[in-house]
């Protein structure tokens, strides 16, 4: 992937869960974000931690919700999420100071971050106990919400019925592991 890829091309790559594209974006804006976070009094360690979480949240929205940015760039969106996470952290630590300036370029992007259920946490641990092909087909269907036809297109399954059959077997296996708890 070229660093000169346009924003729209990068968005396509992010939606297709391309990790290399995500890493390029991560490296590209990291220093600028750490400088931005300094305004809020954050040290490099905390700022990096927040930047990583912002990248992860952005990745989730592109992959899971198939986000399409029409009125902002990836950078603006990323920094908007980063700002939300910085302010959230400072509010939790009760150290929020009014540091908004006239030059403030980024609008806070509020994220809905529900606490996952205990069942989901336990299930997540078992995802490493199933085969790679099972994990893949379940992830494509339940996490990325690809239709059966789309799964056929991005994998080597020969048709939709094979996808349905494999997915059903994999879900059964995952549930059987879960029941053993």
């Amino acid at each position: 992937m070229s660093r000169n890829s346009t924003d729209a091309e990068l968005q396509d790559l992010l939606r297709s869960d391309n990790k290399k594209a995500l890493e390029t974006i991560y490296i590209e804006y990291k220093d600028e974000f750490l400088n931005y976070a300094k305004k809020y009094g954050l040290d490099v360690y905390n700022a990096t931690d927040i930047y990583q979480d912002a990248i992860i949240a952005m990745h989730h929205n592109f992959v899971n919700s198939r986000l399409v940015l029409t009125s902002s760039s990836i950078k603006t969106y990323l920094f908007g999420i980063g700002k939300f996470k910085i302010l959230k952290k400072l509010k939790e630590a009760k150290t929020l100071l009014n540091v908004e300036t006239k030059e403030e370029a980024y609008t806070e992007i509020t994220l809905d971050e529900p606490t996952p259920s205990e069942r989901s946490v336990t299930l997540s641990a078992y995802l490493d106990s199933i085969s790679e092909s099972c994990r893949k087909v379940l992830e494509l269907f339940y996490y990325r919400n690809l239709t059966v036809d789309e799964i056929v297109q991005v994998t080597e399954y020969k048709d939709g019925n094979t996808v349905r059959s494999h997915k059903s077997r994999c879900l059964k296996r995952l549930k059987s592991l879960f029941k053993k708890v």
Partner: protein, 245 residues
């Protein structure tokens, strides 16, 4: 469209306004649909937790590869050697124990990785035909993934005539219901016979052996398959053999 796919479309906002309203009404009254909705949401959340964790580690590793200074001190190198040698010894024991205790699970995973329903290539079934022939009905049930009905129909056919291809699809109908032992019994009668599905019989017999964690039987069946037809699933055969203990 089945209920799972309907729920997926609802969650992914792919339904029309009318369909969305219908889905919301059904979710209040249809217990099966509610359960499918909950499963979908729980799995999506589970994948988010797992993927976020993996991505965090990936980003941290990306930082550490670009930031970490090289160690040049001899003392540090010696200490590192001691630590690494101890870690290596520990790793050998852990890996050994892991292989022993997880051989069965790993085999099951391999089975899932390579198992695909064998398509009907014996008697093509075309929608809309009026042929009521029993063989046709058996394959129609097989193609509709109604494997129990296919099993009964193929068994009926075999009572009148011992057709090797029909016996193969009888075995496939059993296998697709996870009746592994019964399927293997049938396949074992076929793997030595020369007929259209001999390679397939060896392949699925090997997969069942994988599922049961019987590595020697897997090697034996795949070896025979390679001798019979080196081109059949050659890449998959090679990968399985490499992964076997």
């Amino acid at each position: 469209m089945n209920k799972e796919e309907f729920i997926q479309d609802y969650i992914a906002n792919r339904l029309s306004e009318e369909e969305t309203a219908r889905a919301e009404t059904l979710l209040k009254s249809d217990a099966e649909l509610q359960a499918l909705y909950e499963t979908h949401q729980e799995l999506a959340a589970a994948f988010k937790i797992s993927n976020d964790k993996a991505l965090k580690q990936r980003l941290q590793a990306l930082d550490s590869t670009s930031d970490e200074p090289e160690l040049t001190s001899n003392v540090k190198k010696k200490n590192n050697f001691k630590i690494f040698s101890r870690l290596a010894i520990a790793a050998i024991f852990i890996v050994g124990a892991f292989i022993v205790f997880n051989q069965f699970t790993a085999s099951e995973d391999l089975f899932d990785s390579y198992f695909e329903v064998c398509p009907n290539t014996y008697l093509p079934v075309t929608r809309g035909t009026t042929n009521q022939d029993v063989t046709f009905e058996a394959f129609k049930a097989y193609e509709s993934t109604n494997y129990l009905q296919a099993e009964i129909a193929f068994k009926g056919l075999l009572a009148n005539e011992d057709n090797l291809s029909i016996r193969f699809y009888y075995a496939m109908s059993l296998l697709n219901q996870e009746k592994f032992d019964l399927a293997l019994n049938e396949l074992n009668t076929l793997t030595t016979k020369t007929f259209d599905y001999q390679a397939e019989s060896l392949w699925y017999a090997a997969l069942i052996a994988l599922e049961k964690g019987n590595s020697e039987a897997v090697k034996n069946q795949l070896g025979k398959l390679q001798e019979l037809n080196p081109n059949y699933k050659s890449a998959e055969v090679q990968k399985i053999l490499e992964k076997l203990p």
